[in-house]
């Protein structure tokens, strides 16, 4: 099925820590990053979240960045993860000139906008803040991240809710397969904001305890924040640069559930089609899948229908599966890439990360992996990312075989 696409670099920042090494360590220890909210000014402290344990000023100091980047949390998180990805893939500024940068976000600069919104719109006076807000859309945050890295051939923002980063990865892979670029830096960044914390609260799908995906008594999401980027590369380019190959991006698909703006269809039609089409592209059968990193948000609706979709494909026995959102929180638009990096770490280090907090089965034979479990023979992983709008993506990472 056309050209092969490899992963040659990865970077990550989340509630689990900064960078691949810290993330791996936290995963192996089974340590959850969920805790009390501190970074945004909200009355809703009853909802635990997966925060990155650094203030904007700390991040700005470490990254050595100034205005306007120092005030934009999504951008700061994005730069952390993207820089690590470029370093791990040994990408020089010259190589970026012919590469694509595609980032998923929905929040973008909203963290800054919401701090100034009231003053600016109440007074209707043009100030430095109001002028800045005009440009503070989610595309702008991507441009700022890209600018901090170098000059790219193309830059764009994918905004498809919680599957945004997964779709950024898909677009990057398509661009490589179509021969438009040889290298694509792809992923997503999302900061916690009052804006979406309140929004998810109005939907009544936030859990006041640590979330419990696939638990019978689950009662919703813990929001999280972070960023992660992958460097995708064509076979020709990876080989000529003699760069280490972390994994093959062997299959992927985006489908639409076409059912409701936010709810998923009862039998998980979109999720079912996404996993099937991704396996078809990877030329894998259901039996080849060793682990599924589920979307598993912890809402009653998502987990039930995602499980239904999995059971339609694996009719005898489900593969090992877990949702790592109980560790990172639901990092919304960044979750597709954050969980992709977690999958890459699992694939390279031969283990399955656990679904922390899980206690009670929904039914027989549908239990996730609860604790981090060694699996040296792990070869193929499906990573699911579903977004409002019925936007369902499945991505398959496979162990690199020359």
């Amino acid at each position: 099925m056309g050209k092969r696409v490899f992963v040659t670099g990865a970077g990550i920042i989340s509630a689990l820590g900064t960078g691949n090494d810290a993330t791996l360590k936290a995963l192996l220890e089974g340590k959850s990053g969920i805790g009390k909210i501190t970074c945004i000014d909200t009355e809703h402290t009853e909802f635990p979240v997966g925060e990155v344990a650094m203030s904007n000023s700390e991040m700005s100091r470490i990254l050595n960045v100034n205005y306007p980047v120092n005030g934009l949390r999504t951008v700061l998180l994005g730069i952390f993860a993207a820089r690590e990805a470029l370093v791990s893939a040994s990408l020089s500024p010259e190589l970026l000139r012919s590469a694509a940068f595609i980032s998923g976000t929905t929040v973008g600069g909203m963290d800054k906008t919401e701090r100034h919104f009231k003053t600016v719109f109440d007074t209707n006076v043009e100030t430095e803040d109001s002028l800045e807000m005009k440009f503070n859309d989610c595309g702008y945050s991507t441009e700022l991240i890209a600018d901090s890295l170098g000059k790219f051939r193309m830059v764009t923002t994918s905004s498809t809710a919680c599957s945004s980063a997964a779709n950024a990865i898909i677009l990057g892979a398509n661009l490589i397969k179509a021969g438009i670029v040889d290298i694509a830096v792809v992923g997503g960044a999302e900061a916690l904001t009052k804006f979406h914390l309140n929004g998810f609260n109005t939907l009544m799908i936030l859990d006041k305890e640590q979330c419990r995906p696939f638990d019978k008594n689950r009662s919703g999401i813990n929001l999280g924040e972070g960023a992660a980027y992958l460097v995708l590369e064509s076979e020709k380019s990876a080989k000529s640069r003699e760069v280490g190959i972390m994994a093959e991006l062997s299959g992927y698909a985006n489908t639409c559930d076409a059912f409701h703006q936010t709810a998923t269809s009862e039998n998980g039609e979109g999720a079912y089609k996404a996993m099937l089409k991704a396996m078809e592209m990877a030329r894998l059968t259901p039996a080849d899948i060793d682990y599924i990193n589920a979307h598993g948000t912890g809402t009653p609706n998502n987990d039930e229908t995602e499980l239904a979709a999995m059971e339609r494909i694996w009719t005898d026995k489900l593969p090992l599966f877990s949702s790592t959102k109980s560790l990172t929180g639901h990092t919304t638009s960044a979750s597709g890439s954050i969980e992709s990096v977690i999958c890459l770490l699992a694939l390279q280090n031969g283990f399955v990360p656990g679904n922390s907090g899980w206690r009670t089965p929904i039914k027989e034979n549908a239990n996730p992996v609860v604790e981090n479990t060694p699996l040296p023979e792990i070869r193929n992983i499906i990573n699911n990312s579903f977004g409002f709008g019925g936007n369902d993506s499945s991505i398959i990472f496979s162990k690199y075989i020359p």
Binding site: G2, T106, G108, M110, T113, E114, F117, K118, F121, D137, C138, G139, Y140, T142, E143, M154, V155, T156, T157, S158, S159, T160, A161, N167, L171, N174, L175, K177, A178, I180, K194, F195, H196, N198, G199, F200, N201, T202, L203, M204, A253, N254, T255, C256, D257, A258, F259, H260, Q261, T262, E269, G270, K273, K277, G387, F388, G389, G390, N391
Partner: protein, 175 residues
């Protein structure tokens, strides 16, 4: 890449394949060309705009052909108008955030609304661009036609600012 249909909607003019078909507002267009989908009135303006453009653009596709269609839309300001309206509902003086508004603070819901209406199960994407960059848009669309399975793509630029300023410039394309 071949264009099968082209719809352009602005506040004063709606055209199909270059010929003006109406000068009505979005609600007027709905009454003229749809009329059987009361959920239309629950949508935000960006969705109403995308929905009507899709209504006119997909008129001649069969259900089977729609199954084989992807939706890839672009704009510059995301869902900014609804973001503002929702932000007003979470400001503390009158704290009653609206769930229905929050749902539409996602720009890609417009692709979902179109998919729900036309039973499109294929790819749906939404990209926010720095400017209306036709070359980049074409590249993303032709790339999807080349590398993914859909036979048809409903694609274009859809942006809503206010009642006097909005545009949907949508095409149905095939290989």
């Amino acid at each position: 890449m071949k264009t099968l249909a082209h719809v352009r909607i602005t506040p004063t003019d709606t055209s199909v394949n270059g010929a003006t078909v109406s000068s009505a507002s979005l609600a007027g267009l709905y009454r003229e060309f749809a009329g059987d989908y009361p959920k239309f009135f629950k949508m935000d303006s960006l969705c109403k705009l995308g929905f009507m453009a899709a209504e006119l653009c997909l008129k001649n596709l069969s259900a089977d052909e729609k199954e084989n269609t992807a939706v890839i839309l672009f704009n510059r300001n995301g869902s900014l108008v609804t973001d503002r309206n929702y932000q007003k509902t979470i400001e503390s003086d009158n704290y009653f955030p609206s769930p229905a508004l929050f749902v539409y603070t996602l720009a890609n819901i417009v692709t979902g609304e179109i998919a729900i209406r036309h039973k499109i199960y294929g790819e749906t994407s939404f990209y926010v661009l720095d400017s209306r960059d036709e070359t980049l848009m074409d590249e993303i669309v032709s790339d999807t036609l080349l590398t993914s399975s859909p036979r048809y793509i409903l694609t274009g630029f859809v942006e809503y600012e206010n009642e006097q300023n909005y545009i949907a410039d949508i095409k149905l394309v095939t290989k």
